[in-house]
Assembly symmetry: C2
Homo-oligomer: 347 residues x 2
DNA sequence: CTGAAAGCGCTAACAA
DNA sequence: TTGTTAGCGCTTTCAG
C-alpha cells in the first residue's frame, strides 16, 4: 500500500544507493547502466516501504503532468456526456494519463468558459478535450489554443482545431436505408426545428436516399417540431393524419420517436405492422425498452471520446502534429442498431 | 490571457520588487505588510504579463493540491453518475477545488479499484470521493483510508468512513403516502429482487405506511422481479391479473413503472383512471415524458455529490474531523415529484 | 556502474 | 516595508 510519507530519498537510504540510482531503476531509464543486483535492491526497498512517486514533483521537474483536462458541457443532463467521459477515461488510463474534469454549461458566457479552461491551464494539464453535448458550431475560448487540444462533437466557429464529429449523413442514410430495404416507398421524416448541422444533414441525406432509390425525395413528407417527446408526438400526429400517410417513418431522434409511438397508438396504427419507425441516438432507456424495440442509429460518443484522447496524447507526445490534421474534422460512423420497429409494409 | 511561460520571477522583475513581495500580494497573505503602491505595481505587472500561478509548484510547496479525486462507478451507464459529478464539481469549484475523475466498474476487483485510488494518491489529491451508482454496501480499497475521503450513495461493509446515502424509507413513505392521500386502500408494490438496502427499506416503509393507515401492510400484494422495464411488465401483469387487483401501485423504480404502464395498457386499464402509479428515481426521460406524467420520488444524487464535497473540503481544511462523523451515514431526503399518474380511485 | 548537485516554480521563515 | 534563501520531491547532466 502506497505510503504518502516516504520519498525517493528513503528508498535510496534503505537500498544503500543514491537517489539517482533509485530514479534510474524505478523509471527504467534507457541509458542508465545499473547492475541487476542493485536494481533488485532498489525495487525491493521501494516495495517494502510502499513507495509511490510524487507525481507533482515529477511533473514540476519534467514539465509533464500526465493530466488531460476535459471540459464537458451539461454533464448531468444528457447520457451522452457519460459516454464521452468513459471513452476518454479509458483511452487516457491506457496510456498512463488521468482526466481532470470541469463541467460547463452550453449556454455559459465565453468568459466563464475561458475561466474553466484557465483553471485547467494553471494546473498544467498536458492537453485539453473540449466536449459539447450535441453536434454544432462552438466559439472556443481563446486560451484553449495555448495547449494541444481537441474538440469533441462540434466544429469550431472560427480558427482551427482538431475536431471529431459524428457522421450525421451516414447515420441518416443507414436509417432511411433500413426503411427502403424493407420495401417502404412512402417514407416520412420527423425533423428537428433547431438550426444545427444534424437537422440539415439528416434532411439532406433523407432526400438523397429517396432520390437515389428512384423516389422523389423533394416531395417526401417532412414535419418539423422541437426534438422532444411532445414535439415528436405533434409532428407524428400531423404526419400520420395525411391521406397518403407514410408506412415508414424516420425520426430525428429517439425522443421524437417516442412521441411518434404514442401518436401512432392513438391513431390506431400498430408498430411495426402499420408503421415502421427508425430513430436516432440509441438512448438505451427508450430504444431498447420500447415495445417494439426501436431500430435506431447510435451516436459514437464513446468512440469520439477515445479517438480525441488518443490523438491528443499523440500530439502531446510529439507523435503527431495536431496542426496538420486540424481541418477538416474527423468523422466517426453512426452504426444502425436493428431492433424490431422495421418490417416490410403491408400490401 | 494566462501565459504558461511566465513565472513569479518575471512578474517580480517587471514590477521591480522581489518574488516574496509578488507572492505576498498575489496571495493576499495576511501578515504581509506591503504598501498600496507596491501592491498596484505588482498586480498590474502580473496582469500585463498574463501571469497565472503554477499550481503544481504551489502544491509541491504547500502540500496542498486543491484537487479532489472522484472515483465513480459506471459513469456511462446511468444518469445518476452525471448528477453526482455535477454536484461535486459545483461544490468544489465554489471553494477553489477541482475534480480528478476516474471511472471504475461496480464489478471491478478490489485490486483494480485500489489501483484507481492509488493513481489519485500519487497525484496527491487532497481528498477522495468514492461514488457508487446505487445504494448498497461496498468493500472499499484499503488505501482510501490514507487520505480524507467520503463515500457517496453507499455504506461501507467494514471499517468506518463518512458516508451519505438517500433516505429510502422517507422516499418510499412519501410515495405510498401520495397514494393513500388520494384515497387508495388497495395498494400494491412492485419490488426489486436484488438484495440491496433499497429493496428491504422500501418494502418495510410500504408495509409500515399501510399499517399506520389502518390497512393491513402484511397482507398487501407485493410482486418482485428484476428492476428493469421487462421485470416491471411481468410483475405488473401478475399483480393486475388478481381478482382484488390494487387501484394504486408503488413501483420500485421508474423503469419498472414503465413496464407497469405497458401491462396496464394491455390489460385495458387506464392510468390514472383505473390505476394510479408512483415510481422511484425520477429519471427525466421516463417520468416526465410518460403519458400521463409519472409521479415519482427523486433521488438526491446532485445533493449527495455536493454534500460529500463540502464536507470533504471541510475536513481537508481542518474545519471538521471526519472521524467524528464517520458513523452513522448522513441521510439526504428523497422528495416526491408530483405529476399526473395519481388520482383518487374510482368508486 | 554510481553519485553529486542543479533546478523545475513557488512559499515562508528569517533577515534587513 | 521588502528581500534572501532554503527547501517541497523529483529528474538529469555531468563527473567520477
Amino acid at each position: 500500500m502506497s505510503n504518502r510519507n516516504i520519498g525517493i530519498k528513503d528508498v535510496a537510504v534503505a537500498a544503500g544507493v543514491s537517489v539517482t540510482t533509485v530514479s534510474h531503476v524505478l523509471n527504467d531509464v534507457a541509458y542508465a547502466r545499473v547492475s541487476p543486483e542493485t536494481r533488485d535492491k532498489v525495487r525491493t526497498a521501494a516495495e517494502e516501504l510502499g513507495y509511490g512517486p510524487n507525481r507533482l514533483a515529477q511533473a514540476l521537474r519534467t514539465q509533464r503532468t500526465g493530466m488531460l483536462g476535459l471540459v464537458s458541457e451539461d454533464i448531468a443532463t444528457t447520457p451522452h456526456a457519460g459516454r464521452i467521459i468513459l471513452g476518454a477515461d479509458e483511452a487516457a488510463k491506457a496510456r498512463g494519463y488521468n482526466l481532470m474534469i470541469i463541467n460547463t454549461s452550453g449556454s455559459a458566457s465565453l468568459e466563464s468558459r475561458q475561466a474553466d479552461v484557465g483553471a485547467l491551464l494553471e494546473r498544467r494539464v498536458d492537453g485539453i478535450l473540449y466536449a459539447t453535448m450535441y453536434h454544432r458550431a462552438v466559439e472556443l475560448p481563446a486560451n484553449l489554443a495555448t495547449v494541444p487540444s481537441v474538440l469533441v462533437d462540434s466544429v469550431p466557429t472560427g480558427g482551427n482545431i482538431t475536431a471529431v464529429i459524428p457522421d450525421e449523413e451516414g447515420g441518416a442514410r443507414a436509417a432511411v436505408g433500413a426503411l427502403l430495404e424493407a420495401g417502404h416507398i412512402r417514407i416520412g421524416f420527423l425533423n428537428n426545428t433547431d438550426d444545427v448541422p444534424a437537422t440539415r444533414q439528416r434532411l439532406q441525406a433523407f432526400r438523397d436516399m429517396l432520390d437515389e432509390a428512384g423516389l422523389d425525395g423533394g416531395a417526401a413528407p417532412v414535419e418539423s417540431a422541437v426534438s422532444e417527446v411532445h414535439g415528436g408526438y405533434e409532428a407524428a400526429w400531423r404526419m400520420l393524419s395525411r391521406e397518403d400517410r407514410p408506412t415508414g417513418l424516420f425520426c430525428y431522434n429517439d425522443r421524437m420517436a417516442m412521441g411518434a409511438y404514442r401518436a401512432a397508438s392513438e391513431l390506431g396504427l400498430s408498430i411495426p405492422g402499420d408503421l415502421s419507425v427508425v430513430g436516432f441516438d440509441d438512448q438505451e432507456l427508450i430504444a431498447a425498452n420500447f415495445n417494439p424495440g426501436l431500430t435506431t442509429v447510435a451516436l459514437p460518443h464513446y468512440e469520439m471520446g477515445a479517438w480525441a484522447t488518443d490523438h491528443l496524447i499523440d500530439a502531446i507526445e510529439g507523435k503527431t502534429d495536431l496542426a496538420l490534421m486540424a481541418l477538416p474534422p474527423t468523422i466517426l460512423g453512426c452504426p444502425l442498431v436493428r431492433r424490431d420497429s422495421v418490417v416490410a409494409p403491408r400490401r
